[in-house]
């Protein structure tokens, strides 16, 4: 029986000729990741294990990004715990705030993940690296602890759904609109336990940053992972970022997919997910009048340089609506610097937005932009659950950077078209 991309990567890492959906395997890991919320729990669990240190100091990444710069004393203590562990175990890839960024933007940028890798991370958005043609999936802290100790993890080989992307998206339709459209179509558990495999001629028109956004939100459909084929753009990205050796896996012609969805990218419109689930999607022409109080542009989903550029193109020469709070958060120090050099930060500040140091911050209601009861935000983040960005009676509307920026100008949910763009 033929294998999918995901199944081939898992077979290779388990030392098996072939695997099939439902099979339990133990796989060797190329990278084990944790952040300041999940790693302290993993470190505590690992201390209980009777093991002598980590399996490989170069294959563990520890990124304090959620509540950093430390938002309170407890967060500072959690970061201290990570820092001490990193020092004691000589972890190569520990990133202090001056060199950091949001983990899922940072790891590809630092060349720490490559096509064909198998990666686990104690963060649900670890599935982001599927954009590079890697198998990567989110786990909890105990699995992270076992991964750090042994370099291995057990998996149930996932069945797969195929998403054939065709055509070319219209201007202002981005990776975010594509993945929101898909989640709206299949639901928040539409890919539960499965891999989402993307293919088709439409992929060629998607920039790497669009692909990262799409793979990032596979978890929002319940998927184990999302994965893209490797093309010239992927290879160019990996070369630019020094990813080193990589392995390209293509699905067999007779690979088994439980379902195939054909998505015509040319037919998509800017899309917004209404509270309180990412599946509650509407296209921009259906949203109606929704006044907002805050806009957030950033996160592991949409804090990369193309996202900053899209927002800046909309905000250039325009002003944020009076009384609206607009928070721009470049995902990494490198994105921040690039945005500075390209003059994007100037555009944001002149428009009346603020620019924050990299952090997950408001996305999960941590800090840097918490909502009060009754407030609404348009956000380029990934979840709009009850209370996600603050008070239980606040609301989050998920959208692309272009829609978020246009909404920042009008003070209500709007697409760039409303500004004549």
């Amino acid at each position: 029986m033929g294998m999918t991309m995901t199944q081939k990567i898992l077979a290779a890492h388990a030392g098996l000729e072939s695997v099939e959906a439902g099979q339990l395997i133990e796989a060797m890991l190329d990278m084990v990741l944790g952040n300041d919320v999940t790693a302290p729990v993993a470190i505590k669990e690992m201390e209980k294990m009777k093991v002598d240190g980590v399996f490989d100091k170069d294959k563990i990444a520890l990124v304090p990004d959620h509540f950093t710069p430390n938002k309170d004393i407890k967060s500072a203590e959690n970061c201290m715990c990570m820092r001490a562990f990193a020092k004691e175990n000589e972890i190569t890839n520990y990133f202090e705030i001056g060199e950091m960024g949001i983990e899922h933007a940072l790891l590809p940028e630092k060349g720490l993940v490559a096509a064909g890798d198998a990666v686990i991370g104690a963060d649900s958005h670890t599935c982001t690296y599927g954009a590079l043609g890697a198998f990567s999936t989110g786990v909890g802290s105990t699995d992270m602890a076992a991964g750090m100790a042994t370099g291995k993890a057990w998996f149930k080989v996932p069945a797969a759904l195929k998403f054939e992307l065709t055509g070319k998206p219209a201007p202002w339709v981005s990776g975010k609109d594509i993945i929101l459209h898909i989640i709206g179509k299949i639901g928040v558990d539409g890919a539960r336990y499965k891999s989402m495999e993307f293919c088709g001629d439409g992929i060629a028109s998607l920039r790497m940053d669009d692909r990262f956004t799409i793979a990032n939100m596979a978890i929002e459909a319940g998927a184990k992972n999302g994965i893209f084929p490797v093309d010239e753009k992927t290879i160019a990205y990996m070369k630019e970022h020094g990813s080193g050796e990589y392995q390209v896996y293509e699905p067999d012609a007779d690979a088994v997919y439980e379902e195939t969805y054909v998505i015509d990218l040319a037919a998509l419109k800017p899309t917004v997910a209404f509270p309180h689930l990412p599946e509650n999607t509407k296209t921009i022409d259906e949203v109606g009048e929704v006044p907002i109080q805050q806009v957030v542009i950033g996160s592991c989903t949409n804090g990369r340089i193309d996202d900053m550029r899209a927002a800046a193109r909309v905000l250039e020469g325009r002003k944020v609506a009076k009384g609206l709070r607009v928070i721009v958060i470049p995902a990494t120090q490198a994105v921040y610097l690039q945005a500075l050099e390209e003059g994007l930060l100037k555009i944001f500040i002149e428009a009346g937005a603020i620019v924050s140091t990299p952090t997950c911050g408001p996305c999960l209601g941590g800090h840097m932009g918490i909502l009060a009861a009754g407030e609404r935000a348009v956000s380029t983040t990934n979840r709009n659950f009850v209370g996600r960005m603050g008070h239980v009676e606040s609301e989050v509307y998920l959208a692309s950077p272009a829609v978020a920026a246009a909404s920042a100008v009008t003070g209500k949910i709007s697409g760039p078209a409303e500004l004549g763009l």
């Binding site: 919320v37 729990v41 209980k48 294990m49 699995d143 558990d189 319940g222 009850v386």
Partner: protein, 164 residues
């Protein structure tokens, strides 16, 4: 191995952000987490829950973030088992790893109502609603999973095994 308790009932897509909101994730002390468990959807849960109680929910329970704090909070609140139509995958893995029994059974998840007294036999997978007298066949717990739960989680289980 059995669980017995009264039921706290919830709907579909109960996500980890409502099980334990991120604003409380600066702690991983089970007691502190338990005090905030379910607070954003059910402010009364913490004062109502008794040791041994059972949670029953709909589809995709535990979706969202990978925070292990979510099953830790539920377990520390006193819940002895979660029955759901389906579980999100990371939550499922985390619950087993930290020793919180969970069982998928769509029929039981649909029919059991709040405050019913329910018994779960993990060896057979039989769920019995003592209030209505109706029984449901859920998935039995394999021996190793019962071992993990009795040891209080994967790490203790592995350590015990290596002591052999």
């Amino acid at each position: 191995m059995k669980a017995y308790g009264s039921v706290h009932k919830y709907g579909d897509n109960i996500d980890t952000d409502v099980i334990i909101p991120a604003r409380y994730l600066n702690s991983f002390d089970p007691k502190e987490l338990a005090e905030k468990c379910m607070i954003d959807v059910d402010t009364e849960f913490v004062s109502r829950v008794k040791e041994g109680d059972i949670m029953v929910a709909g589809r995709n329970f535990g979706c969202g973030s990978s925070r292990e704090h979510a099953p830790i909070a539920i377990k520390a609140a006193g819940i002895s088992c979660v029955i759901a139509d389906t579980f999100a995958r990371i939550f499922y893995r985390n619950a087993i790893n930290i020793g919180l029994p969970i069982i998928e059974c769509p029929e039981a998840a649909a029919e059991i109502t709040a405050n019913d007294e329910v018994e779960i036999d993990f060896d057979s997978g039989v769920i019995t609603d003592k209030t209505t007298g109706k029984s449901y066949q859920g998935q039995a717990f394999p021996e190793f999973m019962q071992g993990i739960i009795q040891a209080g989680g994967l790490v203790n289980y592995i350590n015990r095994q290596s002591q052999g």
